[in-house]
Amino acid sequence: MKRTFVAVVAALMITTPLSACSGNAANGGQPNINGGSEPVKLTIWHDKEDAVVAALQAELDKLKPDIIVTLEKKNGLTEALKMVGNDPKAAPDMYFFAHDKLGVYAEMGILTPITEFVSAETLGGFLPMTTQAAMYKGEIYQLPIYFETLLFMYNRALMPDSSVPTTTEGLLAFMKDVTGGGQYGFVEQHSTAYYSAGWIHGFGGEIISNDGVPQLNGDKTVAALEYHLKFARLMTGESEYATVNTLFKEGKAAATIGGPWLVPTAREAGIDLGLAKMPVINETGLPIAPYSGVQGLHVLKVSAGNPEKNTAIKKVLNQLCNTDIGAAMASASGCAPAFTACYELESVKTDDMVMMMSEVAENAVPMPNIPEMDVMWNVASNMLVDINMRKADVRASADKAQKQAEDLIKSMK
């Protein structure tokens, strides 16, 4: 009883200033632009987890009653957008997704650059990496909210803090030591492009250049593939997430490279989870540099052309250009905020996952957002399967994949 009372009081103390503050933001002196007329309704499509959506919804609800924003979960969002993108009856006003598809939609002509709504000065408040990722052909098409990268995670019971390898050779030695009898030193989704990209970048290679030329058989990429094969041989034969994650969660793998989404489930499974910097590749002195994905809002052209909605969209986007949403998402789901000032907040600074992600992100490579990248995921994965699982010659597989990628890009046009 006493404890309940304390909890209630504590909750009141926390929420009172918050609600006072938000009340201020909603009605605080600003004249109602619609002069009390009908509220503007905006729809945002997303495919995110509930905690992230709730945080975003709470922030955007502050714009009520002038603007009512509905967040709608849309399965198969990327395909649906291709279909409805310029149909005012069916298209959403905005969508919330990673930055890597924006090149396709910009090329199709369904997106409006967000610089139409948010000033350059305001955009300067975001981490340069995030606005850079949203840039396609000189225009910024996404208002960044948060970003994610892969993280090096380890199980303290199997890999004490003192023996966490700082170099890939150290990791390899550890793997050789430990792997066997159903136990693994380190596992990752070795034959998927997203996970292997970190190794390729660490060798200075890349999957595709910024101007859309595949780089699968470049010398650096091939060197990375050859080196990575040594590690893949000591991992499980399966390369999909369920096996890899389960091995780690069941304590059968000492370490893994995985996304932030693995952290809560691993902790739930009772793993004493440690996060570490990516190991440095001995040969190049560079750390494994995974892809980073920036999640944010994109505005569809059909809505930007509607003056009433245009004004409302401007308000929505500017509402998200401060530390509130970043802090809320960091605490809700461990997302690393895109807004620079968030990193001065105590709540963000003390979140080890968020801080580790922002540290890894310094070396991370934003996923290419050019349309050509669309065909690379599958080609690169097939190449990795050939090398890691089918024991094909590395150089020959890379040449074959390069040729296929070039053909596919040609047939996009």
Binding site: K82, S191, S381, S411
Partner: protein, 304 residues
């Protein structure tokens, strides 16, 4: 008119009766084909998504480049896939239906309901269950059972031949309920006496099956068999989700015409080009069917 059906000549009424079905088939089945044919003549792709124009047969010329050695291999595998699936489906369904029709089998309805279970779930759910629950080399049931009898784990979906067999098993599991039901129903229409002692009179049963039962049920099951044949040829989910899904590839390299076309054309988001390839596959299938029909047609004439 050997069965003495009265011949109606009211053509108007026939078409009137058919019209609701024809209209809806026209909208949902024919229109997409026509639309795909139209798009195949345009340059609709990422760079001309809404402002595409007709460019003639360029996409077809480009499609010929996809029909390379890899495509021919995929075509051969698709034919094999379809043939093996159909043979297994027809034979197993025939045996199961025969056994289910043994008169003294008391729990027939229970068995039938259980056998229909795979049909009661969306296909992708079943495929995920098979992939993760059965075939997974680390945790799958099959390997756990192998482990219990002291055998080494097998990577079921990594080796081409084994993966093909695994896909076959899953496809049979998904498709057999329908076929068993069709066969079972058809068999009940032929004279019961044929089945009375099926279990005990092995040789006689076999001869009767070939000479009486199969000819009797053939016209009844024909539409279902033809439809299943096309569905099997076009089967994409089983092979793609089990072995080829991006991010969850298993190492097997088995491609049917459709998974091949998917990886080599559909991923490009070039809708004109992909449509041209769809049309080519369609024409190919029609050609197969017409050749088959030309042969089968002769027999039908004899039967009449």
């Amino acid at each position: 008119m050997k069965n003495g059906k009265r011949k109606y000549h009211n053509t108007l009424r026939s078409w009137l009766c058919l019209s609701p079905s024809l209209v809806i088939i026209g909208l949902i089945v024919v229109f997409p084909i026509v639309y795909t044919a139209y798009i195949s003549l345009t340059n609709m792709n990422v760079y001309h998504w809404f402002n595409f124009e007709i460019i003639g047969l360029d996409n077809y010329a480009k499609a010929l480049t996809v029909f390379d050695g890899g495509f021919l291999q995929a075509l051969a595998l698709t034919v094999l896939w379809t043939a093996v699936n159909m043979v297994f489906q027809l034979v197993i369904a025939f045996f199961m239906a025969s056994l289910l029709n043994i008169q003294k089998l008391r729990f027939r309805r229970v068995y039938k309901t259980v056998l229909m279970f795979p049909w009661a779930m969306p296909g992708y759910v079943s495929i995920l269950l098979w992939k993760n629950g059965m075939f997974n080399s680390q945790f799958g049931l099959l390997n756990q059972w192998l482990g219990k009898i002291g055998l080494d784990p097998v990577r079921w979906l990594a080796n081409d031949a084994v993966a093909f067999a695994a896909c076959l098993v899953v496809n049979l599991w998904l498709a057999l309920p329908f076929m068993i039901m069709i066969m079972d129903g058809a068999m009940q229409s032929v004279d019961r006496a044929y089945y009375e002692s099926a279990l005990l009179d092995g040789a006689g049963w076999f001869r009767r099956s070939v000479s009486l039962t199969i000819p009797a049920i053939r016209p009844i099951i024909a539409p279902a068999v033809v439809i299943t044949l096309f569905t099997t040829f076009k089967q994409f989910d089983v092979i793609y989700l089990l072995t080829q899904q991006v991010g969850a590839k298993t190492g097997a390299n088995i491609h049917t015409v459709l998974t091949y076309a998917y990886e080599n054309a559909f991923v490009t988001s070039n809708y004109g080009y992909s449509s041209a390839i769809s049309m080519c596959i369609f024409i190919l299938l029609i050609a197969f069917t017409l050749i088959y029909n030309a042969k089968g047609g002769k027999r039908r004439v004899e039967n009449d």
